[in-house]
């Protein structure tokens, strides 16, 4: 994306004209580089725009070849819009905004809209693609080799633009056929040294390379073995061997049904993204359909989810509020302590304080999970003299452990933030208050803390939002466990909403269900957004007081 350059600046003040540019001479301080029409700048602009356009053309060609017409149309419009914005004179705000807006659309809006859309579908295991894909997958897997049927050697021949298969059965008999022409014996076929029929007068024999070059057509050839469809058809998968296949299910496009060739039972579209027979038996492969609000309804009505969901929501709040409060209190306390001017070795202490923050949270989670092992963990073994305390396996202790580890991980951040905020407070305030006879506690409570909160409060809110979705700590430390006894889902007493969503989405136990997971994610978003909005409003009030 070409960066709009400062040479265009005068455009905001009106139509650029040579006079106006020359007018820059009226301001002796203006640098000559900022001239709107400097040759270097224009060339740079042309080159950058050219690169963007070249890349765009490449993408458009790819879209054209893959026949993605809607994407092609949208992309072409975007390219035209970009060129129009940067080639025309004036319109400077657009030149600044265009790249940002474009990236916002691609990386934020599109993703959000897409996952929002998934919440209204049954996308997940068994409902993975389109109905056409499902039908062709079912047809493909329904092809069964006829039991005890012989293996044929096969050669691929062409005549004109038609493909034929030349088969040699185990007795050496050569037969020719294609999808249209049933199998006929051709005793005059030429054979190679292994006895495989390879050529026939009037036909061209394809070499392997030619077979591969035409593989799609060759794979489609199904040669009826006889007039009786029960005998099946001959097909080749590799161009050199062929077997007799018979479908276990037949698809009828007119009625949109699959019929079992053995039992005669019919499978129809059951409206839920799968083919089902009268008894409700469904075929393995289904497809993605829109299900409306079903996923949201399920989140609150599914008996295996309803009960635990409430517990999980409560714990999520407890966890995130307690995490923010504890880390803030601890960080602030340490920040004040290490802010004392008479403290020696402050730098060394500060570096030590920051260390937990420097390790990746998921790694720390794993390490702590080892430290807290009831029998072999360092905590019980070394510190508690071999006591067998189930830090991560008892529901209450597990919650406490998760909080403690999260505080250990999170206080350095608060420490950093508070140190910064404290150091930016003017020292005169402190002195003035002391002169008035205020105690240290009074100074802190009435002066420093309110001033501190003005700058720290927004960070506390974002820290709350972060901890609300603090996946790493929970997943690596306890995996959400210990499991609840009253649900058959894999949900446990330290699961927060985001780990619950992960488990639903990536199928710990019940198969992946992206639809339900997206619905839950939307619910989480609504909760976090509401709380953040209210909190920010409160923060504004805080600023007004000051």
């Amino acid at each position: 994306m070409p960066k709009p350059d400062l040479r265009e600046l005068p455009a905001t003040q009106g139509q650029p004209s040579p006079e106006q540019s020359v007018g820059s001479g009226a301001r002796p301080t203006a640098k000559p580089v900022r001239h709107p029409d400097s040759l270097k700048g224009t060339i740079l602009k042309v080159v950058l725009l050219g690169l963007v356009d070249a890349f765009a053309v490449y993408i458009l060609m790819m879209l054209f070849l893959s026949q993605s017409w809607p994407a092609l149309a949208v992309s072409s419009l975007v390219v035209l819009a970009i060129n129009w914005i940067y080639l025309r004179k004036g319109g400077l705000p657009a030149k600044y905004l265009a790249p940002g807006v474009l990236f916002l659309l691609v990386f934020q809006v599109l993703v959000v809209v897409f996952s929002g859309y998934i919440a209204f579908t049954n996308y997940g295991d068994g409902h993975n693609s389109t109905k056409e894909d499902a039908i062709s997958a079912i047809q493909m897997t329904a092809q069964k080799r006829v039991p005890d049927s012989p293996a044929y050697k096969a050669s691929v021949l062409t005549k004109g633009s038609d493909f034929y298969l030349l088969f040699t059965d185990p007795s050496g008999k050569a037969q020719l056929g294609s999808s249209e022409d049933p199998l006929t014996e051709v005793p005059e076929a030429g054979k190679d040294s292994t006895g495989k029929a390879t050529s026939l007068a009037g036909y061209q024999t394809l070499k392997f390379q030619e077979i591969v070059a035409n593989q799609q057509e060759i794979l489609k050839i199904t040669v009826p073995v006889s007039d009786d469809p029960a005998d099946g058809t001959l097909r080749t998968a590799d161009g050199s061997t062929a077997y007799q296949f018979k479908p276990a299910l037949n698809y009828d496009a007119a009625t949109d049904t699959f019929t079992d060739t053995d039992t005669g039972s019919q499978y129809r579209d059951n409206g839920k993204g799968a083919f089902a027979d009268a008894n409700g038996e469904t075929l393995a492969t289904g497809w993605k359909i829109d299900v409306g609000m079903d996923n949201f309804v399920r989140a609150f009505t599914d008996p295996s989810l309803r009960g635990p969901l409430l517990g999980v929501i409560l714990w999520t709040f407890t966890f995130s509020i307690a995490s923010v409060a504890l880390t803030f209190v601890m960080g602030l306390f340490l920040a004040i302590t290490f802010n004392r001017e008479d403290l020696r070795g402050k730098k060394a202490y500060r570096i030590l304080m920051i260390l937990p923050y420097a390790f990746p949270a998921f790694l720390s989670g794993l390490v702590w999970s080892g430290i807290l092992n009831p029998e072999f963990g360092w905590l019980n073994q070394t510190l508690l003299g071999g006591a067998n305390i189930g830090w991560l396996t008892d529901p209450v202790l597990a919650k406490i452990s998760v909080l403690v580890v999260n505080v250990w991980l999170g206080f350095p951040y608060m420490f950093l933030v508070c140190t910064g905020a404290l150091q930016s407070l003017p020292s005169e305030i402190d002195e003035a208050a002391r002169m008035d006879g205020a105690s240290a506690w009074r100074v802190f409570r009435s002066i420093k803390l309110p001033l501190l909160l003005v700058s720290v409060a927004p960070l506390l809110i974002s820290s709350f939002a972060f901890n609300f979705n603090n996946f790493n700590v929970i997943y690596m430390l306890t995996g959400g466990g210990p499991r609840f006894a009253d649900t058959d889902r894999d949900i446990g007493s330290t699961d927060i909403l985001i780990t619950l969503v992960y488990k639903v989405a990536f199928g710990q136990g019940t198969g992946r269900d992206y639809g339900l997971a997206s619905a839950l994610a939307i619910i989480i978003f609504i909760i976090v957004a509401t709380i953040s909005a209210i909190s920010f409003k409160q923060t504004k009030a805080l600023e007004d007081v000051n």
Binding site: D37, I43, N128, E210, V212, I218, T241, L392, D488, T510
Partner: protein, 432 residues
């Protein structure tokens, strides 16, 4: 003068734009022409492989196995001119990536993985069956059986893996037939001060480990699913909650934390391995993947048959690794040729064995590898095993099964009650 410059650049812009458009148009036209010319032409001296999308076969493979495939892919390229591109993927995520990417057309032509992925793959319609024909007879029966799902073979097997009982012969010198003997030997070793743990099996302290405990369970006559008419597992016949299963649950409680402490829920796989390597236990129930480290450590090792706990044969789950073909491969014919005629070759299976150390699925390769007594022992034990169920319903079973076993080992609640509740829960989930 400035006006002049502006005019000049504007002209440049126009020329440039015109040029770009014409180049693009020309490229687009040639590209279309290329892909449209797929009608057979016998005059074509050099068939355009690329035009048919056949220049390259893509295979997703993990880092460990990728080098083992280099020779065979080079041979394929020199024979056919088709390149097999090995894309190294993270093994933990590759199954889910495959399921989501194949429908978009972005997936590979081939993927390497264990056979119990088949159920999920078929449910999502992302793999195609392969027909091995007579070649099937050249493979171990159990490996072909494992690759068979709903009556069709879906993958080309190359290795079989299963667990066995590793024994440190310098602590216990004779083979035991039953678990009671194993436990007695182990306890004696602990009493004699030769070991700290009578018996080791790795356990996930969060999820349990039904895979490693299954031989003990099956030796008491308890299975997970019954078989349907075509020999595959039938999700409708859930057997896990039967009387034998409840017996196993009671036994498990007696081995657990509240009982004899033979099976310890706090011993993870890593801890178990560490303790066995330190010579702190005579027995370690594990798979071939831990053997190289044990040998490196210089421990005198014997690979014993799995001990029975209830008198019936202790059948481990066998996992069969193999190659699967994408249902949406644009290269299906070339891929089939590579899979059925190259990957089934002895040399390919040999080099996969050299890289992974798991007993090969091809009989000829296995016989060569079996000159190593460890491979032979694992192979023999594997021959008595049952394929790990590949049906999608199995993922429901794992979670409940592991959690229940874990609770029983910890001595939480009544084992019989917990086991029956687990079976009911699994049944309701499979049904719904």
């Amino acid at each position: 003068m400035k006006v002049h410059t502006t005019l000049e650049t504007q002209t440049t812009r126009r020329v440039f734009a015109a040029g770009a458009i014409s180049v693009a148009a020309a490229l687009a036209l040639t590209a279309c022409g290329g892909s449209a010319s797929t009608t057979p032409s016998s005059d074509a001296a050099k068939p355009d492989l690329k035009a048919a999308g056949a220049g390259v076969i893509t295979m997703w493979v993990d880092a460990e196995r990728s080098p083992a495939l280099k020779d065979i892919t080079e041979k394929f390229k020199s024979d056919t001119g088709i390149e097999v591109k090995l894309v190294v993927k993270d093994f933990a995520a590759v199954r889910d990536d495959f399921i989501t990417q194949v429908p978009t057309g972005q997936g590979p032509d081939l993927i390497v993985g264990p056979h119990d992925w088949i159920g999920k793959f078929v449910q999502n319609g992302v793999i195609a069956p392969v027909e091995l024909g007579d070649k099937a007879a050249q493979f171990q029966d159990s490996s072909i059986k494992a690759m068979t799902y709903n009556g069709a073979v879906y993958g080309i097997p190359y290795a079989i893996e299963n667990i066995a009982l590793l024994r440190n012969t310098s602590i216990v010198d004779s083979k035991a037939a039953t678990l009671d003997e194993v436990v007695a030997n182990g306890k004696k070793a602990v009493a004699d001060g030769k070991a700290a743990f009578p018996f080791l099996v790795g356990m996930d302290p969060k999820q349990g480990d039904p895979y490693h405990l299954y031989p003990l369970q099956s030796s008491m006559g308890s299975q997970v699913f019954g078989k349907s008419a075509d020999g595959g597992y039938d999700a409708k016949q859930l057997l896990i909650g039967d009387a034998a299963g409840v017996e196993f649950a009671k036994k498990l409680a007696s081995w657990g934390d509240a009982g004899e402490k033979i099976i310890n829920s706090n011993i993870t796989n890593d801890i178990a391995k560490e303790k066995f390597l330190a010579g702190e236990s005579p027995y370690f129930l594990t798979g071939p993947w831990n053997v190289p480290d044990v040998q490196k450590k210089g421990i005198k090792l014997a690979v014993d048959e799995l001990p029975t706990a209830g008198g019936e044969p202790a059948q481990p789950f066998i996992g069969v690794n193999g190659f699967f073909i994408s249902a949406k491969s644009v290269n299906a014919l070339a891929t089939n040729e590579f899979v059925t005629n190259y990957l089934t070759s002895e040399s390919a299976q040999d080099s996969m064995y050299a890289a992974g150390g798991r007993p090969p699925a091809l009989k000829a390769s296995f016989e060569k590898a079996a000159s190593d007594p460890v491979v032979e022992a694992f192979g023999k034990i594997g021959a008595t095993g049952v394929p790990m169920p590949a049906i999608p319903e199995m993922s429901v079973v794992w979670a409940d099964w592991g959690a229940t076993e874990l609770a029983i080992i910890k001595g939480q609640g009544d084992p019989a009650e917990a086991w029956t509740k687990m079976a009911d829960s699994i049944k309701s989930k499979i049904g719904g």
